[in-house]
């Protein structure tokens, strides 16, 4: 330790030996730090647009400031409440159905004794996770179109074809189901890992006590993954405003805006398509702040109740 009243030269010497040893660390962190500041902190100046009547010709520095006017305008827009509602409904129904299906899939896979069968099913159900929503969207537009395979089957059954992606009754269910199709396998992995972590002694004990297999699932398996389910549920709080931009942008069309337009797609259209920068930034800022609060609550709960930390 440095003595409190050490003379200046000796402190300088200490400092220079520290720097000689540690300088590489500062050099290493520099590029990352520069990029972090550029892409995570520099955008804050762009947030100023939300409080301006932004004119691209004048730029951020010369555009007139309007205070909270953009937000006042925003909160009177019926569109704004509609897209917020859509976002919440879509995100919540996706998250809940995904977690339920993932737990069920993991439980089912866990009962399979044949390794070959288990691995084949796993290989197949994980695959869609690695395909982009351009590819999946292309697949879905074709499959669910009026001449697509799904409607061919509906016709075979003697029913009228359904315009899935052009109907406000069907658009949200289609979003949820196609999302499940993409993600259910991937989301099951974490539960499968939790299931393999259950102590086999517990099953042996249950067996000796004469518990049937279903009773064992109820009293050993389910409690064994309860903490994982809880943790995933808490952490998914932060995604309550994330209704899946990639998916919606590639599947929707103006007909289904009433039920399918979400915050992210609205921001994209307002800002980058029709150049209403201030309005789009205001919506974006609203979304960012709500998201930040939800993420913070999620991590706080996870830290408090599951001893979970990111580092």
């Amino acid at each position: 330790m440095v003595a409190k009243n050490a003379s200046l030269p000796s402190r300088l010497r200490k400092f220079s030996t520290y720097m000689a040893r540690t300088l590489p660390l500062y050099i290493m962190i520099l590029p990352g730090l520069v990029l972090l500041i550029l892409f995570s902190y520099f955008p804050i100046y762009g947030v100023a647009l939300a409080f301006q009547k932004f004119n691209p010709g004048l730029g951020v520095s010369k555009s007139p400031w309007v205070g909270l006017d953009n937000f006042r305008y925003l909160f009177t827009l019926p569109d704004f409440w509609r897209i917020t509602r859509n976002t919440l409904i879509i995100a919540v129904s996706k998250t809940i159905s995904l977690q339920i299906c993932a737990v069920l899939l993991a439980l089912m896979l866990n009962e399979i004794r044949s390794r070959l069968f288990k691995r084949s099913i796993q290989t197949i159900v994980y695959l869609p996770h690695f395909l982009s929503w351009v590819i999946l969207g292309g697949l879905m537009l074709d499959l669910l179109g009026s001449t697509g395979m799904v409607n061919q089957m509906i016709r075979q059954l003697g029913e009228k074809p359904i315009i899935f992606l052009g109907s406000n009754d069907w658009f949200r269910p289609v979003l949820v189901v196609t999302y499940l199709w993409q993600e259910v396998g991937w989301s099951a992995i974490i539960y499968l890992a939790a299931l393999t972590g259950i102590d086999p002694v517990l099953y042996e004990a249950a067996n000796i006590d004469g518990a049937s297999h279903l009773k064992q699932i109820q009293h050993v398996t389910l409690p064994g993954i309860r903490s994982t389910v809880l943790l995933v549920a808490i952490l998914s709080l932060g995604s309550m405003l994330d209704a899946g931009f990639d998916q919606v942008l590639n599947l929707y069309n103006p007909v289904v805006y009433p039920t399918g337009d979400i915050l992210d797609t609205y921001i994209y259209r307002a800002g980058l398509v029709s150049a209403q920068f201030s309005l789009a930034t205001a919506v974006g800022l609203f979304r960012s702040i709500v998201r930040l609060i939800l993420v913070a609550i999620g991590y706080w709960l996870a830290d408090r109740y599951s001893d979970y930390r990111i580092f």
């Binding site: 540690t22 590489p24 660390l25 290493m28 962190i29 590029p31 990352g32 730090l33 990029l35 972090l36 892409f39 995570s40 955008p43 804050i44 100046y45 947030v47 951020v60 009962e111 399979i112 069968f117 099913i121 290989t123 159900v125 994980y126 690695f130 395909l131 982009s132 351009v134 590819i135 292309g138 697949l139 537009l141 395979m149 061919q152 199709w181 259910v184 991937w186 992995i189 890992a193 042996e204 297999h213 279903l214 952490l235 995604s239 931009f245 992210d264 921001i267 800002g271 980058l272 920068f277 789009a280 974006g284 800022l285 998201r291 930040l292 993420v295 913070a296 991590y299 990111i310 580092f311």
Partner: protein, 295 residues
């Protein structure tokens, strides 16, 4: 586990096998259907006759896509993007994670950097500020717009840092006492011992860069500079196959349709993922354990 031999459990087990097989089929059938469409001729693909097997097998649709200069162009851009994007992202991740894996006593300022990183991880200012920054940096319409912004991923840095911290401190201490510099310790101790984590992050980074399409859509104006997925989007979502089929000769006209061209271009773009997939599978568990912390 001792087998339960009760009658009801046996029935349940059979039901379980059947349901899982159905789930597997539902996941794979759309892809097989599309593969069949891509190898069928015009009449069959337009008429919706194809189910799971090609009708009047032809490779004409693939020939059309593979003869289109714009397809090659975008494939080349995607390859460039992966080479630059993945190596830059990995270099930044490792170089940033190593100092942060030290204690604040050994590396003064570590806690400040850590806070900057965490705030960066949890805040997202939206796409308009993001777009403006990239525009103001003069990156618009350049491949660097797709490569530089994702290079610093706070999330990947934290994963890498956590991995570095699990390496026994004694190894580092021994090397330090022997006079090894930080650079030497990073390259001779930390990197060789972290290869599984580095491989996982690299693979996921490749998939990320291969699959990204939105940045190409809003940062690149020039159709000859689009990465493959963005170009593909104009074909399969924008339903515009003219960029692909304009080169094709008219003699082949009866052999392909817009639909079979879309199917073929989708399949061609899945091939690299399918090639990487067996490799990726080896890292799923590492990946999901790392990935489960994502907010």
């Amino acid at each position: 586990m001792i087998e339960d031999r009760s009658w009801s459990w046996r029935v349940l087990k059979i039901v379980n096998y059947i349901v899982l097989s159905l789930i597997g089929l539902i996941c794979i059938l759309p892809l097989i259907h599309f593969l069949a469409v891509s190898f069928s001729d015009r009449a069959a693909s337009v008429g919706g006759l194809v189910t799971l097997w090609p009708i009047r097998f032809t490779t004409a649709s693939y020939a059309v896509v593979l003869e289109a200069p714009l397809f090659y162009r975008s494939l080349f851009i995607s390859a460039q993007r992966i080479i630059f994007g993945v190596s830059l992202q990995m270099a930044i991740t490792i170089l940033t994670a190593y100092p942060l894996s030290k204690t604040a006593r050994r590396f003064k300022g570590r806690n400040l950097f850590m806070w900057l990183l965490l705030i960066g991880l949890f805040t997202d200012w939206g796409i308009i500020p993001w777009w403006l920054v990239i525009r103001n940096l003069g990156l618009m319409n350049k491949i660097w717009a797709l490569v530089i912004p994702p290079a610093m991923s706070p999330y990947n840095v934290i994963l890498m840092m956590n991995f570095f911290r699990e390496i026994p401190e004694e190894l580092d201490d021994a090397a330090r006492i022997d006079g090894a510099s930080h650079w030497r310790r990073l390259f001779n101790i930390y990197i060789p011992l972290s290869l599984p984590a580095i491989a996982t992050l690299t693979l996921f980074s490749v998939v990320f860069h291969w699959n990204s399409w939105f940045d190409g859509m809003v940062l690149i104006y020039d159709v000859t500079k689009l990465p493959l997925q963005t170009f593909l989007r104009s074909v399969v979502i924008g339903l515009d196959t003219s960029n692909l089929s304009m080169q094709a000769g008219s003699s082949q006209f009866l052999l392909y349709s817009d639909r079979s061209i879309r199917a073929a271009s989708i399949f061609l773009s899945i091939v690299p993922v399918l090639i990487l997939y067996p490799l990726l599978q080896g890292y799923f568990v590492t990946g999901i354990k790392l990935g489960s912390v994502k907010g």
